[in-house]
Amino acid sequence: MSSPSVAPSAPGAPSATVPLAPLRPRSHARRKAVDGLIKASAWVAASFGIAVMLLIVYEVIRRGAAAIDWAFFTELPPVVGEDGGGLGNALLGTLVITIVAALIALPMGFFGGIWLAEFGRNGRIATGVRMIANVNMGIPSIIVGVFVFAILVEPLQHYSGAAGSIALAFIMLPVMARTTEDILNLVPNELRESALAMGVPRWRVTMGVIIRAARSGLITGAVLATVRVAGETAPLLFTALSSPYWLDGLFGPEGFFGGPTANLTKTIYDFSGMPYERMQELAWGGALVIIVTVLTLNIVMRLIFQRGKEW
């Protein structure tokens, strides 16, 4: 997720004026009591929030662990009502769809972010692009699914993994652009100025000096953006759809461009609604794989980013 960048306040920046509340005498005991009450409720609320999160993670681990074995990663789902099988095809499909989406969106978002941070800055066009990117990050992912359905699936008359990739890329693009911009803005201006002062052309300053200084943040941003879309379901509903088969080749009916492609999230959605125990178990297994991947990558990337802040 992206959070608003906390810009260091410039010296001499106007501080906001806080209107003064009229002075009224209050008893010390009452003030202390109110203070204590608020602190206590804050603790209760925070414990509640953390408890819900732990409860969800616990539930996924408890129910999902039973489904995880070698076959889970290597086999096709069983015929409805039967035992055994796995989600191998869905895992492979999600991997391929996500990687292709990343290959489309990450470079474009990266260069777009460079433009916003290094060239566009506070100009009128950049402000507009930035605002559109922010708005774009907030549009419901199902709408992106509908959009890709309208431009690709309907005209071509078939669902495909590639259409799913396009939908995910669409969601990643503004995220990557804004993350890149935010991170490049953290690089001190002195670094730019000293490189430029040595007579280095602008593009080499950016690619060789600025990017190098910001690389750990950029890698973190790229990975987190990718992980985020990997867990999306709604954009795939009308694009990649789902398939009980392995992804096979490119243009055939089971190919990446040619037909519906199995993916983890849609499969979880379908299976968890089925009244068969084995299907539900597989769905929980899939959920466990997602949660473990998301949490591990988030933690690892955070550590890398922390360590990499060397400027």
Partner: protein, 336 residues
């Protein structure tokens, strides 16, 4: 320093003109090319969004002409009987979002206050990371958890407990005509939405509260204020517009959430819910669940029309959030 390429050349002592010529060549071709490439990518972000809006309008044109604005005031979505309406879905969206925000915003605020003021920095970092982790969990997992854990609890414990007590007489709490036990209901969907948007609002509010200048708060403490007084009279006033912005972001998420709601809200496309315990639908989950049922061109077009409506609603909230957050940042003396 090898990336700069200049130092090495200078030490090797080639004629001075060579380096300069190379650098001039870079400036003539390299820089403009780089500028154009990055500009193109930057504009792509905007072009993509405009294209999306255009495609939505183009593809919903059949339905817009056929149904007009009456689409928004017709209740039932029932293409088989010729009724194309978005009102039930809009009502469901408003109700689920309302439930989510009423629960999530106060909780998020106190957690953000706790993280910025009350907890020692080390613990605050751990808790803050935990909150951000929760934000990273995909919505389908919340949906599944809701389906297998929350729905049975609501159906067997919570809803009977409410409806059989005097609370069941109150408006919004008395079961309506479509009541089906309350497991799959507006309330269940709203609760899961609350859990989902909580980390977002918390994280944004915390960032805004961290922008309150330390000196201002210390001045408050120096005058003998209690922690709560500093929070209420200094931090919250300072951060108010940012918190409003954070709320809008959370609101946008709740409005557009598809999967978690599709699992839990019950899928009643015909009637608007009369109480929180009634099954309903939302715009996003209706699109998700009905898209594969669409048979005629008008069906699909009407669903895309519904997508367009949702797009416009969320865009309005995003734009509002954008301006509020920008204002907050400007007030805090940061870069807009």
């Amino acid at each position: 320093m090898s990336t700069l390429g200049l130092e090495v050349r200078a030490r090797a002592g080639p004629p001075r003109g060579a380096a300069e010529a190379a650098s001039r060549r870079h400036r003539r071709f390299g820089d403009p090319a780089f500028h154009v490439i990055t500009l193109a990518c930057g504009l792509m972000v905007a072009v993509a969004m405009v294209t999306l809006a255009g495609v939505l309008i183009y593809n919903s044109w059949t339905a817009i002409q056929e149904l007009g604005l009456g689409f928004l005031t017709t209740v039932a979505w029932s293409p088989s009987s010729g009724s194309y309406g978005a009102l039930a879905a809009l009502a469901g969206t408003a109700l689920t979002t309302l439930v989510a925000m009423v629960i999530a915003v106060p909780l998020a605020l106190v957690i953000a206050l706790l993280l910025t003021e009350l907890v020692p920095p080390g613990l605050a970092r751990v808790l803050g990371t935990a909150v951000e982790m929760l934000a990273a969990i995909p919505s389908i997992i919340f949906g599944m958890w809701g389906l297998f854990v929350l729905v049975p609890f609501m159906q067997e414990r919570f809803v009977p407990w409410i409806t059989e007590s005097w609370l069941g007489e109150l408006p919004l709490l008395s079961p309506g005509a479509t009541f089906q036990g309350g497991g799959f209901s507006i309330l269940t969907a709203g609760l899961v939405l609350a859990v989902m948007v909580l980390p977002f609002i918390t994280a944004f509010s915390r960032d805004v509260l961290l922008m309150v200048p330390r000196v201002t708060k210390e001045a408050g403490y120096g005058m003998g204020s209690t922690t709560w007084e500093v929070l209420r009279k200094i931090s919250l006033r300072y951060a108010l517009s940012g918190i409003v912005g954070a709320t809008f972001i959370g609101l946008g998420r709740a409005l557009g959430e598809t999967m978690a709601v599709a699992y839990l809200v019950g899928g009643n496309f015909i009637a608007a819910p009369h109480s929180l315990f009634d099954p309903g639908t939302t715009v996003a989950s209706l699109i998700a669940l009905q898209f594969s049922e669409a048979t005629t061109k008008l069906d699909t077009s009407a669903l895309i029309y519904m997508g367009l409506v949702l797009f416009i609603i969320t865009m309005v909230f995003q734009v509002l959030a954008h301006f509020w957050l920008r204002r907050a940042r400007r007030m805090a003396g940061g870069r807009a």
